[in-house]
């Protein structure tokens, strides 16, 4: 369902939810956001729970940093402690840390909900068509997006060329030294690729000053307005529920 929503409508909703998560310093509210995001991703969008869990690992580590900082360095966390106010989850410092931890997870889940249900190409097209993103920036983003997976292929080609020089097949997974030695050639490849793409785009008429057509950009529908309405209405409802 979320996948069929206009990327910009989804972006606006996600930004509002992120803002709410940052401003409302309440553990139950953060839990309500987390619950909603999980319902949307796992039950409505049918994404693998394992994938969602894996995506939350960096956010959990980030949040854990907040938690330990709050508990161990109370003075520095004074602002958070005051914001935490009531302490239903044990000590004041621990409670503040928990809220910060949950907030990191909630923000991560909202971002994941956007990223996992949005086609990046459609998102850039929507930005160019509706929000007047400069085509130069839009197509630079396009190129960068397509470039990332190609780096792995390029790295493998370099490893093969080196292996041939040495006369023995490459290891399945490169060691730390080999990985470090790939950085400069890959950087050179990235620069080469970027300059070629720039020349190709120039030769094919990018940015001639006229208002270009954007083919295949997503169109706004009534369901997008309904989605925005529901997303906005859900926030005060969650806040109200979280107070009990």
């Amino acid at each position: 369902m979320l996948s069929s929503i206009h990327p910009l409508a989804k972006l606006v909703a996600c930004l509002v939810w992120l803002t709410a998560s940052i401003l409302i310093f309440s553990a139950p509210f953060q839990l309500a956001i987390i619950g909603s995001a999980i319902v949307a991703l796992v039950f409505i969008e049918q994404r693998s729970p394992l994938l969602v869990l894996a995506l939350m690992v960096p956010f959990a580590l980030f949040g854990f940093g907040f938690l330990t900082t709050s508990v161990l360095f109370r003075q520095e966390s004074d602002f958070a402690l005051r914001m935490a106010g009531e302490t239903p989850l044990g000590g004041e410092a621990f409670s503040a840390g928990i809220v910060l931890f949950l907030r990191a997870i909630a923000c991560g889940l909202i971002s994941a909900a956007f990223a996992l249900t949005t086609d990046a190409g459609q998102f850039i097209k929507a930005l160019m068509a509706d929000w007047r993103l400069s085509p130069r920036i839009g197509y630079a983003l396009f190129s960068a997006m397509q470039f990332v997976p190609d780096l792995a292929v390029e790295a493998q080609q370099i490893r093969l060329a080196r292996a041939m020089r040495r006369g023995r097949p490459p290891r399945r997974i490169p060691g730390p030294l080999e990985t470090a030695s790939l950085i400069v050639p890959l950087l050179a490849y990235a620069i080469r690729r970027a300059s070629r793409a720039a020349i190709a785009m120039e030769a094919r008429g990018l940015d001639t000053g006229i208002n270009r057509t954007v083919l295949g950009a997503p169109l706004l529908h009534r369901r997008d307005a309904a989605f925005i309405g529901i997303a906005f209405a859900l926030l005060p409802l969650l806040w109200w529920i979280s107070k009990f």
Binding site: G121, M201, R204, T208, N211
Partner: protein, 552 residues
């Protein structure tokens, strides 16, 4: 302005930053309206540089010092930016990755049309039409261009170019990575333009181009342009000069020159082997016998010898192998292939058939999904020669290859110099490998991989793409020398004449497996098989039929 040529270069000279000499020029040439011009020249003669000045990419986007003037339909190119000329000039660069912007197929084809702010309906219609013209179905639209094979990228770049419908097309080796049938179809598509559309085409594979263009222009070793007139007259009148410059000469023109050297002058210079055969048949009886002898010697020189015996030691073998490209799905199943010492094998097939995957699997560089591989690791010359380069200069690349092959430091230097001379790279020894032209990069990658002769099996992936005549001759000699020294050489190629001349055995890849495997003299003459596999018969075939049928 109405009478002005489609494009005109007036005394253009281009010097890149820090270069001692101009890359091209001073050169003057013009392309008339509705004219189709073939630009020929040795690798590194500055053809691609000259084309890049046409819309001002040089010096506007690529820094260089330019003297002289370029005009498009009578208007000075400098009055607009390269992007603003895109509605008038469609350009396709030598390397398809330089033409494509790294998007999906549909987005690539639409890109230039969106920039011209054409209505969405028209863009959709043009995308559909262009994809159909190059033989790609609608379901290709969502595929990422950077995940396509070299030939497939070239097809997408051509579709993008055709969709632009510009009055002038400038194409640099547009079919270098395409299977023969597709290449022939697309060359006709490019050159058969409606109205007063003009085409300027650069290519080393001039075999069937010669009959499709109005005029040939030669860029000589000094970077000067020479108007060669009609292709029929050009190859006969300038044969010696072309040979000296190392420019590829179509087989019929080479046969014509061989006959002329023996005092036999055909009534008219030939563009196709069918024409040559028709003229041979028309010769007076006394001359006919001599001509047959010359034609027979010519045919023998253009065909590889017999394949090695089955008792010869096996160098590498695949048994029941399922082959897949890196990070990709299985494309070939249940493949069994044995390569023996001294064997030369051509791996041919349509674009995307899995030739490169088979070659890399045979060399032991790709892990099999199923089945097994026997034999030591082989080496591969990648389809994109840039993937081969690891050092900071041409000399270092070749020297390091010799050092890796076990040569000591002193002898590696000497051997590197000799090898650079052999591959015509001595003057570029100090240059960075990425500064070379596409043909020169190809030569360097081949020099690196053949240095030291340390590999029992060498796989060359489309080694003739971008090579001029001298490069092809050097490669052919090197393959023979390697095979003579007991190395096995597998060649992935679309150039069936080269395959016939340099490989005793041919393997046709089609439909997820090996469709044929046998002597090149048999496989590459099976026209039904070739047609089924998207290939076209070698240009030499009519002459072989003529000699065998004994019509003289």
């Amino acid at each position: 302005m109405a009478d002005a040529p489609a494009a005109r270069w007036c005394d253009i000279s281009v010097r890149y930053p820090y270069a001692d000499a101009p890359a091209v020029g001073p050169a003057s040439l013009a392309v008339g309206r509705s004219e189709r011009v073939l630009l020929v020249g040795a690798s590194g003669s500055g053809k691609s540089t000259l084309l890049a000045t046409l819309t001002g990419l040089i010096p506007h986007t690529i820094p260089a010092e330019v003297t002289g003037k370029v005009e498009l339909r009578g208007e000075d190119v400098a009055t607009r930016t390269p992007a603003q000329w895109s509605a008038s000039v469609g350009q396709m660069f030598q390397n398809p990755e330089q033409t494509l912007c790294g998007m999906t197929v549909g987005d690539e084809v639409a890109f230039a049309l969106e920039n011209q702010a054409l209505p969405a309906d028209e863009i959709e219609a043009r995308i559909g039409s262009a994809l159909a013209q190059v033989g790609l179905s609608e379901d290709w639209r969502g595929r990422r261009t950077m995940q396509l094979s070299g030939g497939e990228k070239q097809l997408v770049a051509l579709a993008a170019l055709i969709a632009q419908q510009t009055p002038l097309l400038v194409v640099d080796e547009p079919t270098a990575h395409l299977a023969p049938a597709a290449a022939t179809h697309l060359r006709r598509l490019l050159l058969d333009r409606p109205g007063d559309a003009s085409v300027l085409i650069v290519d080393h594979r001039v075999d069937d181009l010669a009959g499709l263009v109005d005029r040939v222009v030669l860029i000589d070793a000094d970077g000067h342009a020479m108007d060669g007139g009609s292709p029929r007259a050009f190859f006969r009148a300038h044969y010696d000069k072309l040979a000296a410059l190392g420019i590829a000469i179509p087989p019929p023109a080479a046969l014509d020159a061989a006959l002329q050297a023996a005092g036999i002058v055909l009534a008219e210079a030939t563009l196709t082997m069918e024409e040559a055969v028709a003229w041979l048949e028309a010769l007076p009886t006394r001359e006919k016998a001599a001509a047959q002898e010359i034609a027979s010697t010519f045919a023998v020189a253009h065909q590889a010898g017999q394949s090695v015996q089955a008792s010869t030691k096996v160098v590498a073998a695949l048994e029941g192998a399922s082959c897949a490209p890196l990070f990709g799905p299985t494309v070939l199943r249940d493949v069994s292939l044995t390569v023996r010492r001294g064997e030369t094998i051509a791996i041919v097939g349509r674009n995307g058939a899995g030739k490169s995957t088979l070659a890399a699997s045979l060399a032991g560089l790709l892990r099999l999904k199923a089945g097994r591989r026997i034999g030591p690791m082989g080496a591969i010359s990648f389809q994109n020669p840039e993937n081969q380069f690891l050092a900071g200069s041409v000399r270092e690349e070749v020297r390091d290859a010799w050092l890796a092959a076990g040569a000591d430091a002193a002898s590696a230097e000497a051997k590197a110099e000799a090898m650079l001379a052999q591959w015509g790279l001595s003057e570029l020894a100090a240059a960075h490998p990425f500064e070379l032209s596409q043909g020169q990069k190809r030569r360097l990658s081949l020099a690196i991989i053949t240095a030291g002769g340390r590999w029992p099996l060498l796989v060359l992936d489309e080694p003739t793409a971008g090579l001029d005549g001298a490069g092809r001759a050097a490669l052919e000699a090197e393959i023979r020398s390697l095979a003579g020294a007991g190395h096995a050489v597998a060649l992935v190629t679309h150039d069936l004449d080269f395959a016939l001349a340099s490989c005793a055995r041919s393997v046709v890849v089609d439909d997820g497996g090996i469709a044929a495997d046998g002597p090149s003299r048999t496989v590459l003459r099976d026209t039904a098989l070739l047609e089924r596999s998207g290939l076209a018969a070698p240009a030499l075939l009519p002459l072989l039929h003529f000699l065998e049928e004994g019509r003289c």
